[in-house]
Amino acid sequence: MKVIAITGTRKGIGRFLAEQYLERGWTVVGCSRDASDLSHEHYSHYTLDVADEQAVASMMQDVRRKHGRLDALLNNAGIASMNHVLLTPASTLQRVFATNVMGTFLFCREAAKLMGRRKFGRIVNFATVATPLKLEGEAVYAASKAAVVSLTEVLARELAPMGITVNAVGPTPVPTDLVGSVPEVKMTALIARQAIPRYGTMEDVLNVCDFFLRDESDFVTGQTLYLGGV
């Protein structure tokens, strides 16, 4: 049975992705800061901070002991910040980078250790259209995700000899808690800049993950696929 790790599975896109892969017969290991009410015989939840190096290492060692393999990782956990740079405290940058960059880095590193033993793995990181659109008010969030794109490109090269592909999906705004605090007028303006001007759906994100996870995608790595024609 294939095993997939998904970060940020308590709610939103992460929860949706976990449910989809469970329905397809995968074993899913998820995590979030708080406990999850997702109950399934093939789902295990780890309550942790993705930026906690020791906790992430222990989670992955536990996955190895219980399942002996890890086929895929979806680095979905992320937090956003909407604020003018002059009103943004340094603590916001530390918090956003800890989850988005450190969390992605730690999960990539620890997952690759499991995947590398079997010379196979698929990693999908989560970028955002806020980076290429250079969205005002999202400097910290966009910069953190730019770092994720850069990590994706370099890790793709470092992990290729181990049979691991590393790609990223760049969703447009999807109606979740992450964008819930952004004023509607801002969202409308953002969506108008897409080639296809609509909100994204969770199925759109799933579709890209599916593509990167396919066995036939073993020659696709280091890519960031932005949705909506951005």
Binding site: Q54, A57, Q61, R65, K113, G116, R117, P161
Partner: protein
């Protein structure tokens, strides 16, 4: 978690034994605690070191219960690298295990 350096060393030697099963005779890793593990005269290239560290962390986890990360900023330092020998790596692993249990 307290794990003795000798126990760490034994885990590292188990990792060496596992890796040697898949290495050609001229690239076998010595299990001598003081032989050069990584650096001049070692059979390990950088990717080989990555494989070794991966295997070593898993053996340590299974043998001692300590889920540690053997990454080190001093990896490329000839004098201070914990990867210079199995003994120095065992000492480093012991230190890391002590730190993570104290945290």
């Amino acid at each position: 978690m307290t794990v003795s350096p000798d126990r760490m060393l034994a885990s590292l030697q188990n990792a060496v034994a596992e890796l040697n099963l898949s290495l050609p005779p001229d690239r076998q890793i010595s299990d001598d605690p003081d032989a050069v593990l990584y650096g001049e005269g070692s059979p390990l290239d950088s990717l080989g070191l990555v494989n070794f560290v991966m295997t070593a962390e898993q053996h340590i986890g299974d043998d001692t219960g300590a889920d540690i990360v053997l990454a080190s900023e001093s990896a490329m330092s000839r004098k201070r690298s914990p990867y210079r020998s199995l003994r120095s790596l065992a000492d480093y692993a012991t230190e890391i295990a002590g730190q993570s249990s104290a945290a």
